[in-house]
Structure formats: C-alpha cells, structure tokens
C-alpha cells in the first residue's frame, strides 16, 4: 500500500520539473525548483535514507533557492527569450 505514495510523489516530481521549465517568470521557476527539492527530500525519507534527506532538504530548498533569488536580484527578473 505504501508504494501508492511513492508513485504519486514521483509523478508529482515530473510535473513540477516540467512546470519549472515552462514557466515564463524566472522567480516562479526558482520557487518551483525549491518545491521540487522539497518533494525530492520526501522521496529520500521514503527510501529510509535519512541523512541524504537532511542534506537535500537543507541544500535544495534552503541554500539553492536563496542563492538563485539573490542572483535574480542582481540581474533583471524577466527572461528575454
């Protein structure tokens, strides 16, 4: 019964990844990326790899998002292409 959670979360990941690519605004893409690593950490927890989940959570949602946002602050928010 537990595998149903797994499949749902993996499908969630795929949708989040596609969304992160297709979204126009850069800041939204960054936010969806942090969402992606949020769910990814749960998949690690599901697989009982606790320390990996710790690092994924703290690096993925924490540091990466903040760095991207500061990078966005220095450059322009919208993507020209």
């Amino acid at each position: 019964m537990i595998w149903a959670l797994d499949i749902a979360m993996l499908f969630f990941l795929v949708v989040a990844a596609l969304a992160a690519i297709s979204v126009k605004d850069l800041l939204s893409a960054v936010i969806i990326l942090s969402l992606y690593s949020l769910i990814m950490a749960i998949v690690w927890v599901e697989l009982r790899a606790v320390d990996v989940a710790f690092t994924e959570a703290s690096v993925g949602a924490g540091i990466t998002t903040v760095l991207f946002i500061f990078a966005l602050v220095r450059t322009t928010g919208r993507s020209e292409d």
Binding site: L27, L38, R48, F54
Partner: protein
Amino acid sequence: MEDLFLLAGLLLILTSFLSLYRAIHGPGIFNRIIAVNVIGTKTILLLVLIGFIYGRPHFLDIALVYALLNFIMTIAATKY
C-alpha cells in the same frame, strides 16, 4: 490505525497535487509563493506521517528543518 496514516498520506498528496496546479497556473508570482508555502506545510505533515508509518522517530528532525526552511524561503522570496 495504520491505514488511517496511509489514507492521510494519500489525501495529503492529492491536495498537494491540486495546489501544484495553483503553483503552475497562478497568475502572478505571489500566488505561486502561497502555493509553495501551502505545499511546504503539507510536506511537513507528510514527513511526520511517514515517520509514524515506518515507526521511525528520528524523522521529526527533518520536519523541524522543513518548518524553518519554509519560513526562510518565504521571507527570502518576499524580500525580492
């Protein structure tokens, strides 16, 4: 009692699917920030539930980290 946790987990994932729709579709940036915030709080709960399903107590630390992260992420996004 066990399947109640599983049912709760499935329900949480379903609701986060719906809020993912809001995260993708949301007209402006701020709708997306709320969506991610909502999904963040749901994942905290999901973590605790998974910890209970597997009977492993030390998942709670991750949930605590998530609570902090969710907060920091929101503040960082609003600073911009």
